[in-house]
């Protein structure tokens, strides 16, 4: 990691909010799926409280990058530091040794992830979805965990759904429960993997509203999305990925109005055309 990575982007909006120390540092990450080179030497530093939006065509590696940060995929090169952990490895005498299942799980608790397809646990009620990990994994007191879950449900606008099963909810409602489930672990960073891509258009805003709200409360967020409205409203930086590289990285204002990369211009022309 060079010192250059630590300086905030020059075009960060001054006075908007003060960003903290680097909390996610991705350095030279390589990822292959078989012979397919998905992430090519990707580096990115995200500071505490920062909201970074990553966009790009499907297959550009943006979701894979997010999954690598959360250790849902193992990386083939480089390092990822997140929430104070060297993700997936420990260092011993300058050598990196892969962590076992339990230690990886411990690291993952500090990162929250929201998926395109919600992935709620369908066999248990909404409130059990939220309290399952705090109660069974963190051994939190059940009554306390339920009280907190109710607060979270209020926060995502679903105070009356605690006893519903996921199937009884609309997509937008399910995704908001999924956000509450992730928040219940009190993560230091929230990762969103195309959180609105599987939603009907009329349900997108209810999820984005929750996300904007979360960003205003100072949550560090990395969001893979094509919702440019969200990027304008909440992002500190917008990135474009293309064929496994980050090809553009700028504040929203610059990203949308004065993009440098031809890939960004082409991407924006396609996504803003309709």
């Amino acid at each position: 990691m060079t010192t250059q990575d630590l300086t905030p982007p020059t075009d960060a909006r001054p006075g908007d909010k003060t960003l903290g120390e680097p909390i996610v540092v991705i350095d030279g990450v390589q990822k292959y799926f078989g012979a397919h080179h998905v992430l090519k030497d990707v580096s990115l530093t995200v500071r505490r409280g920062e909201v970074v939006v990553i966009c790009g065509r499907s297959g550009s590696g943006k979701s894979t990058l997010l999954r690598c940060v959360d250790q849902l995929e193992t990386i083939d090169g480089g390092t990822i530091h997140a929430a104070g952990h060297l993700m997936g490895f420990r260092e011993k005498n300058g050598k990196r040794i892969p962590l076992g299942d339990a230690q990886v799980a411990r690291q993952q608790r500090d990162l929250g992830m929201v998926f395109q397809n919600f992935n709620l646990f369908p066999h248990i009620s909404v409130i059990d979805n939220i309290t399952l990990a705090p109660v069974r994994i963190l051994k939190r007191n059940k009554a306390e965990a339920r009280a907190e879950a109710r607060t979270l449900l209020k926060r995502v606008g679903l105070p009356d759904k605690e006893n519903a099963y996921p199937r009884q909810l609309s997509g937008g409602q399910q995704q908001r429960v999924a956000i509450a489930r992730a928040l219940a672990m009190q993560p230091k960073v929230m990762l969103f993997d195309e959180p609105t891509s599987a939603l009907d258009p009329e349900m997108i805003s209810e999820v984005l509203d929750v996300m904007v709200d979360l960003s205003r409360q100072g949550m560090t967020m990395i969001v893979v999305t094509h919702e440019m409205g969200f990027a304008r409203a909440a992002a500190d930086r917008v990135l474009l990925m293309h064929e496994g590289h980050i090809v553009e990285e700028a504040a929203p204002e610059t990203f949308f109005n004065h993009p440098e990369s031809e890939h960004t211009k082409l991407f924006l022309s396609k996504i803003l055309a309709h």
Partner: protein, 244 residues
């Protein structure tokens, strides 16, 4: 014709038959529970084990699904003593039935686990669950829903398969019927009564199975597919969209 109603009714409530039926029930339950344990272990070894564990699980499944349960029981009870392994009748019957059942259940459990959406594993990992926690709290409870119907069929089969333990003199329903038949030679009456007992046990089990299936279907049930709220929202959205 040599049919006797009086013998038939006598056998219906005969103490030996009632005892035999009770033995059939607990032998089935114990063998099924042990078989389920073996099946889960074998399925896990086959799906997640290293090469050696996988090989052991596959060999076990191949061996016990590939040979008749009758031979397995006879070998365990009358063959193993030659190697110095002496099991009594009850131990032999339970061991044989459980080993046989486990081999079939392993494949059912494996299919059940594979039926759970991959995203569930991602979600469980993202909240920091270890492999065991994911299995126990997320994957297996959902696999259960797929596993329960074939599992019920297996137990239905088990209730009747226990009759084979009569050949190693396990005193269950079939064996006790044989003993009564040898006393009074009312063969048709006594075996018909035995058959009726099996029908009764299987019927009771079927009623229980329906309830268990309903319990595990509840979160997924058709009634739960679309809530009134979701439906209202949908109607609102259609209205908002206006005429096409």
């Amino acid at each position: 014709m040599n049919w006797s109603w009086s013998y038939f009714f006598e056998y219906l409530t005969n103490g030996l038959m009632v005892e035999g039926a009770w033995t059939t029930i607990w032998l089935s339950v114990v063998s099924m529970v042990l078989g389920l344990g073996l099946g889960v272990i074998a399925a896990m070894m086959k799906m997640y084990g290293n090469r050696a564990l996988r090989w052991i699980a596959e060999f076990y499944i191949w061996l016990f699904r590939g040979t008749p349960i009758l031979i397995q029981l006879v070998i365990i009870y009358t063959g193993l003593p030659q190697l110095g392994i002496r099991l009594n009748v009850i131990e032999s019957a339970i061991l044989g039935l459980a080993l046989n059942e486990g081999a079939y259940l392993a494949e059912i459990i494996r299919a059940g686990i594979m039926s759970v959406d991959k995203g569930q594993n991602d979600a469980a990992r993202s909240v920091g669950m270890t492999w065991r926690e994911r299995m126990w709290l997320v994957i297996l409870p959902q696999a259960t829903r797929t596993i329960i119907p074939p599992l019920g069929n297996q137990f239905n089969g088990m209730l009747k398969t226990t009759s084979l333990a009569s050949v190693i003199s396990m005193e269950e329903l079939m064996r006790n019927a044989q003993m009564l038949a040898q006393i009074e030679f009312r063969v048709l009456e006594v075996y018909l009564v035995a058959a009726l007992w099996y029908l009764l046990l299987v019927s009771i089990w079927s009623a229980i199975q329906v309830r268990i299936e309903a319990h595990y279907e509840k979160p997924f049930g058709p009634a739960a597919a679309v809530s009134p709220e979701a439906e209202k929202e949908l109607a609102k959205a259609i209205e908002k969209a206006g005429p096409a």
